[in-house]
């Protein structure tokens, strides 16, 4: 792991000098700011039962769909296209170090972008006092973002490790994220899953409901099963990314 921080440092710098990162950041803050003001207008019209943080974090999937692919699509696809993956892997670094460092830098940036939405809540607090700020759902929401982000970013890295085309990697990671977040949600409502023979599938699908996880976190319930779901999913996806990079070497 001696090269982990060297590569992490390099990757983070490369992300910070890349215009794409700033486009993603501006897009992200604009969309989230739009939701936030829309939500506050709702509060202006009539009293709401839930705290602003709970409602706000329910929109998490929209930025995840476009931001995670934008942040992670280049990490292997671009290097493979340019051929710099070859120069990187002929130095004494292991594939594991490279995958973890690329994952780490994308994840840090993901966190940094979400952290910047803290500004919205600060503005709300500054002008409305603590009438609307309920620390429980706020902390729970950010905790959910941090933990689920591990898996989402890992999925983006995995998609990038499979292709040499940046656009293909982006679409693949969007598809995988959509399947995980929306697809599984939809699957649970289908009638076919209520059949007796589908019982184990129903149990597995019920366990992997991202929106329910969010609700639990927002209520301040940190279920270790959910944390383990994201952590194990992340580790598995990263192992697949490592295998993805190495499998391409075998094929030439």
């Amino acid at each position: 792991m001696r090269h982990y921080f060297t590569i992490l440092n390099h990757e983070t710098r490369m992300l910070l000098v890349n215009p794409g990162t700033y486009i993603a950041a501006v897009l992200f803050l604009a969309v989230m700011g739009f939701f936030f003001t829309g939500m506050l207008e709702g509060y202006g019209g009539a009293g709401q039962e839930q705290s602003p943080a709970t409602i706000f974090f329910r929109f998490f999937f929209i930025p995840v769909f476009f931001m995670v692919p934008l942040l992670t699509m280049k990490c292997f696809a671009e290097e493979r296209r340019l051929g710099t993956l070859e120069t990187l892997l002929t130095t004494p670094v292991t594939t594991t170090e490279v995958v973890l460092a690329k994952f780490g830098s994308a994840y840090l940036l993901y966190l940094a972008l979400w952290a910047s939405t803290g500004g919205f809540f600060y503005v709300l607090y500054r002008f409305a006092g603590d009438r609307f700020i309920d620390p429980g759902p706020l902390v729970g929401g950010y905790l959910f973002i941090a933990i689920s982000g591990l898996l989402f970013v890992a999925i983006g890295v995995f998609a990038s490790s499979l292709s040499r085309n940046v656009a293909v990697a982006a679409i693949l990671s969007f598809t995988l994220l959509f399947g995980l977040i929306v697809g599984l949600n939809f699957l649970e409502t289908m009638a076919v899953i209520d059949l007796e023979i589908m019982r184990p599938v129903k149990a597995a699908v019920g366990y992997a409901q991202v929106f329910e996880h969010l609700d639990d976190f927002s209520r301040g319930v940190v279920d270790t099963r959910q944390v383990i779901f994201y952590l194990s999913g992340t580790i598995l996806t990263l192992i697949f990314s490592i295998l993805g990079v190495e499998a391409k070497l075998l094929q030439g």
Partner: protein, 340 residues
């Protein structure tokens, strides 16, 4: 460093690499001693790059063994990567970094201590004539500078072994000269393997040449050894006027194996060009003898009243001829129907 100083730089035996049923490298074996500069020749798609990638530990071989400085690549690839400096074909570089930043990053990856990296960076930049462009962005560099960044990167960590895939591709003659000097300056200190299409290049810088074709090693040796093996004779180019029968007769006296070969003009099928307007014609004399017979040939021809001699040259077959002969021979072997 974990290399054993006594082991040869490379020991390759029966190396095979197949991609999805296509054999890219087929049972190649060779050894390279420490401090040698080896040229790797072969037509496109002959398996040069594949072989080099296997030597660096980047891709695994299908079968066969490779040892770099005594370390087996298959099982201890990490250690091999520590002692090999590698520059891939076309030298891919990240677009949006500065030259010095890139080299610093590579130096850190190659485990050069931070304290030593600064001075070493200056030294390498100076040696590769990159000091003027050290703050430029890699994506905006000229082809020549990019290649030199690649060479700088390969020698940065002072590895005992350097592998460069086509270091002079796409350079102008002046830049080729600089690269050649750079490679020559590594002689004795580092073992260098370079591949190239530019044959005079290889001939000038390399101690030994390996020619591969269709994944097989078809020839190896010093350029002069290869000449002898594939062309098997010494050639002289004579320009004379007079009776050709007389010439043949007097040559028999010197050396019975001396033969008159087609002149450069006749060779291209244009007989009129062989004889110039003033009656002089050019012919090749070939012999199986290795000793230089130039002096006796000149003496005999000058003493022969029927022949006027205008020029006499010892014609060196270029590596190109050897290369063509070697690859042609291997094609003949591969293409010939199996003998029963």
């Amino acid at each position: 460093m974990t290399d054993t100083p006594s082991a040869p730089a490379f020991e390759v035996s029966d190396l095979v690499k197949t991609y999805r049923g296509i054999t890219a490298v087929n049972k190649i074996s060779f050894n390279v001693d420490r401090g040698e500069i080896i040229g790797f020749l072969g037509p496109n798609g002959a398996g040069k790059s594949t072989t080099m990638r296997i030597l660096t530990g980047y891709i695994p071989a299908t079968s066969g063994t490779v040892r770099v400085c005594g370390i087996p690549v298959a099982t201890r690839a990490e250690e091999v990567k520590r002692i090999v400096g590698y520059m891939p074909e076309n030298n891919p570089l990240p677009e949006d970094m500065r030259v010095s930043e890139y080299l610093y990053y590579r130096g850190r990856l190659k485990e050069i201590p931070r304290s030593r990296l600064g001075p070493r960076l200056d030294e390498v930049l100076e040696r590769c004539d990159l000091t003027r462009v050290r703050h430029r962005i890699l994506g905006q560099l000229s082809k020549g500078n990019r290649q030199r960044v690649g060479i700088a990167e390969a020698i940065l960590a002072e590895p005992p072994v350097i592998i460069m895939d086509e270091p002079t591709i796409g350079l102008d003659p002046h830049q080729i000269l600089i690269v050649r000097d750079l490679i020559a300056s590594l002689r004795g200190r580092m073992t260098v393997i370079i591949s190239s299409h530019i044959l005079p290049e290889i001939e000038m810088t390399c101690d030994r040449v390996l020619i591969i074709n269709r994944g097989q090693l078809v020839a190896q040796g010093t350029p002069s050894e290869l000449r002898r093996e594939f062309l098997g004779r010494t050639r002289y180019l004579v320009e004379y006027a007079g009776d050709s029968a007389l010439l043949a007769g007097s040559l028999k006296l010197i050396d019975p194996t001396l033969q008159i070969e087609s002149s450069p003009g006749e060779h291209s099928g244009d007989a009129s060009r062989a004889e110039s307007s003033d009656g002089f014609r050019k012919v090749f004399l070939t012999t199986r003898q290795e000793a230089d017979q130039g002096e006796s040939i000149i003496r005999v021809l000058a003493a022969q009243p029927g022949i006027r001699l205008r020029s006499f040259t010892h014609s060196h077959p270029s590596l190109e001829d050897v290369f063509l002969a070697a690859t042609k021979r291997s094609w003949d072997i591969v293409d010939s129907p199996p003998q029963r």
